[in-house]
Symmetry: C2
Subunit: 332 residues, 2 copies
């Protein structure tokens, strides 16, 4: 079972089994928001899957789905290329599309205006690098590294705390924006229970990239101070952390949870170091350009491809999980 | 009285006098859409003016405006630079912002989902160049010209017909998208009663640009066939045409109409040929690039600046008007 098919099936079942009929009846417009949409096309597939499932549910209740309209809000940070997103919107889409720029750690939508939130692979991106990790004189200064998973306990704690704070803000904002009874369907790459941060697959990938930067610093190509003050704002939660966040917030029930263990195993990108290097480059290029400039990127990612190849068995030994989660907004 | 102040006053009065209290009470979210927003900042000023006026109205009814939220949809064609728009959104805005790509001659929003539509200076842009004007063997082939106002009767008729069709589609779409009783506030540059197309100020400006292109064609810099097959899809309605369109549609009452005669007269840009040339270049560059390529633009707009200077007294004799219009959605 491929990851795409698994995701589609999860969405369909979640809506079939968990979406309240009252929500379908409460408005003629069903509003969906995808958080962290990037430039498509995955976001478009998700929107289509959701709409198909809602229409099926609508029909199964004996309702006339012709009268139901959909509006999909595509959200990402303001720096996202919304022009590209808009130009690639499917022309035969069955929904009204809108783009919403801004961090999903703050409010994006009016009160009780969204029927269903969706987010795939975006939630690990934190609102910011923890401030203490940026404090050169503090105990969490992350010298010689660009990530938390292979760093000191202080750095790990700072990332943990930032994640907890972010999740609180994330859920607090969504709790206001979603209608009572509304669903949130999330795909969240996480850390498998019992696996240390440093043995988790996506983390390994970032650690190796950090070691490449330090190699370039030793060669004098990159200013070491720039490496010291650079950190990737991404954190993989354990299932316990995720549950705690939902519990702390108190506005949502966990309606369904699945662990997709084999998601990354099926992803052939992890078996091709060159492909992986170019994919990571695509996703991080903006961040790296800001800190290190354009010039070093080619050399950095060439070295990265080589190191990934050398350390391929370590990469493949990394453990990974994707949490598939359905939350429902409790009545106030 | 400057044009900006006049626009603000018109919006404030329209909302104060014409916005039904039921609309304010019907939802906790007041949704505004600006059609043809470009990249701001005028669109942001309009949104702020509208919100300020709605809040005042809300308070004047003894309601607590703290509970009212605003969502503003910024619409323009998909080719618009939404990235620029999003990056320049005021950080202290009092509304949730969304971008909506697509032609306002089709549907953009769910049924009855918008409380107030606004559009400033965008409605003269047609959905397309009339097809008959593009037919090289037909009677409306616009040889040697790029605009209708100085062209044959057949070309003028084709533009008139396209405008009538566009207005029908425009009003039909809005009639479905707006709530019953909702307002539409439009600023529409038009043709003053009794003024021929060719003596209307914005038209004069385009006619002179067309003559520059023909000069370049005669010099062999531009392929004349490219001039023949190029037309600017912009049409200025008379007040009668505007009234007819609203009447034909039948879903809206005209609640208020003002003619701002001095709008262009106050605009110093028309007194500075160089400034005018560069402003027209900014607004048409995309269109011209597509048809004629990058290379001719500098030469074209340098010549344009010169011609505008030579013909400045003619430009200044041009007649202009902006229709300020408030429409209200009638109950079904």
């Amino acid at each position: 079972r491929g990851a795409v098919a698994a995701a589609k099936e999860f969405i369909s079942k979640a809506i079939e089994e968990k979406l309240d009929t009252e929500i379908l009846l409460s408005s003629k417009t069903f509003r969906i928001a995808d958080l962290g949409c990037a430039v498509g096309p995955n976001s478009f597939f998700s929107a289509e899957n959701i709409i198909e499932a809602v229409q099926l549910k609508y029909k199964s209740q004996g309702l006339n789905s012709q009268t139901l309209e959909f509006q999909v809000f595509f959200n990402d940070i303001t720096a996202n290329d919304f022009n590209k997103l808009f130009r690639s919107l499917p022309s035969n889409r069955q929904y009204y599309a809108a783009g919403v720029p801004g961090s999903f750690y703050g409010r994006l939508f009016p009160n009780a205006s969204i029927n269903l939130f969706h987010s795939a692979f975006a939630i690990p991106w934190m609102s910011q690098v923890p401030k203490t990790v940026m404090d050169r004189n503090g105990p969490a200064w992350n010298k010689g590294r660009i990530f938390y998973s292979d760093a000191s306990d202080e750095v790990v704690s700072a990332y943990e705390a930032q994640n907890a704070e972010d999740m609180e803000r994330f859920l607090h904002a969504r709790a206001q924006e979603i209608v009572s009874g509304g669903l949130m369907v999330f795909f969240i790459p996480g850390r498998p229970d019992g696996t240390p941060h440093s043995h988790t697959l996506p983390n390994l990938i970032y650690q190796i990239l950090g070691s490449c930067l330090m190699d370039l610093a030793r060669k004098g190509v990159v200013d070491e101070e720039k490496v010291n003050s650079f950190n990737i704002p991404n954190y993989l939660m354990s299932s316990k952390e995720l549950e705690n966040a939902v519990e702390q917030n108190g506005c949502f029930s966990i309606e369904r949870r699945e662990n997709l263990d084999h998601f990354f195993a099926h992803d052939t990108v992890y078996k091709s170091p060159q492909l992986l290097a170019s994919q990571i480059r695509a996703s991080l290029e903006g961040l790296f350009k800001q800190q290190f400039g354009d010039e070093i990127l080619d050399e950095l990612f060439e070295l990265y491809g080589k190191k990934l190849e050398e350390q391929q068995s370590m990469v493949e030994s990394g453990k990974a999980v994707v949490f598939l989660l359905v939350l429902r907004r409790l009545a106030n």
